[in-house]
Symmetry: C2
Subunit: 182 residues, 2 copies
């Protein structure tokens, strides 16, 4: 399979790009090629110019986000439950979170996928699992910011178990969305 090698190389470059761009959106193509254990010439063979690579990264990110949303089975349970399941799936996307959150390569997915999120949140506002005083857009912003916070928190504390951080994230996010008792 000749195209098998090509796909593997292409994927290695994209993976390296995701990790490096997450840490430094202005990192050089040489750094990305090195991280992918690939010559800079080869990188340019696959992605003519920087913008092409960024576009491929954005596409890859969009696909991963889509798969996570599918896994989350958003139609089940209350709106808040669905949102928390999605949050768990997103959490495992790792450094892709930084990339999406900083919005460097995230313009591609937002326009489409943000809409289904609004739907889930509206459902939660209707069934009482999400405080109706919170606009859906604000809930989305909150979701992303807490996801990024959890990712950062975990990245700086290797001794913390993934499960513990995920538990903190779930607890604070579900609390934040709940209707106040007053």
């Amino acid at each position: 399979m000749t195209s098998g090698v090509k796909n593997r190389t292409r994927q290695a470059i994209i993976d390296a790009a995701i990790h490096l761009l997450a840490g430094n959106p202005a990192c050089s193509l040489g750094d990305i090629a090195a991280a992918a254990q690939v010559g800079r010439t080869t990188l340019h063979r696959y992605f003519g110019e920087r913008a092409d690579l960024l576009a491929a990264v954005a596409t890859e990110g969009g696909e991963r986000l889509g798969r996570a949303a599918t896994l989350a089975d958003l139609n089940r349970g209350t709106g808040a439950e669905a949102l928390l399941r999605l949050c768990r799936e997103y959490f495992d996307l790792g450094s892709l979170l930084s990339l999406m959150f900083s919005g460097q390569a995230g313009e591609c997915w937002e326009s489409q996928d943000e809409q289904f999120l609004v739907g889930v949140i509206e459902r939660g506002r209707a069934d009482g699992s999400i405080d109706p005083a919170l606009p859906p857009d604000w809930v989305i912003t909150l979701l992303w910011s807490q996801l990024y916070a959890a990712w950062e928190y975990r990245a700086q504390r290797p001794e913390e178990s993934r499960h513990h951080v995920l538990d903190l994230l779930t607890r604070t996010l579900s609390n934040a969305l709940r209707q106040p008792p007053s």
Copy 2:
């Protein structure tokens, strides 16, 4: 007053740097100079090299954070109340939030000022206003991420009143920190 002019120019450069660096940490000195309505030569006269400007921005940021903390009168009320007051003060720091949150120039303040935050949070955990299950470090991360979220939310919606966004922020943050009823 000969130094009055110099101070004004210096401050204009730092202000411009804060705003531009918040949007793009890799922006050029030429852009900053243009935003400050100052020649690139003048910018280099005040800050020999890029690192000098970044250091000045970090210092300025540290001072503004310190003033905000003073205004928040952190010894008054429960830990959660004090934290929310601090949050309101921080909210008005504007684009400085992005800069501190992204941590590009924020290494300077963190080591010192993060400690008093831990103290306030510990107080809240002791007096029951903050869920003791949340580690202080996580609360700090949460505080910053929600502040940044609110700032982003507001920046993208000029029609929203400052008060309304601040209200959303206060509501979700105080909810997130509260002990769950179960």
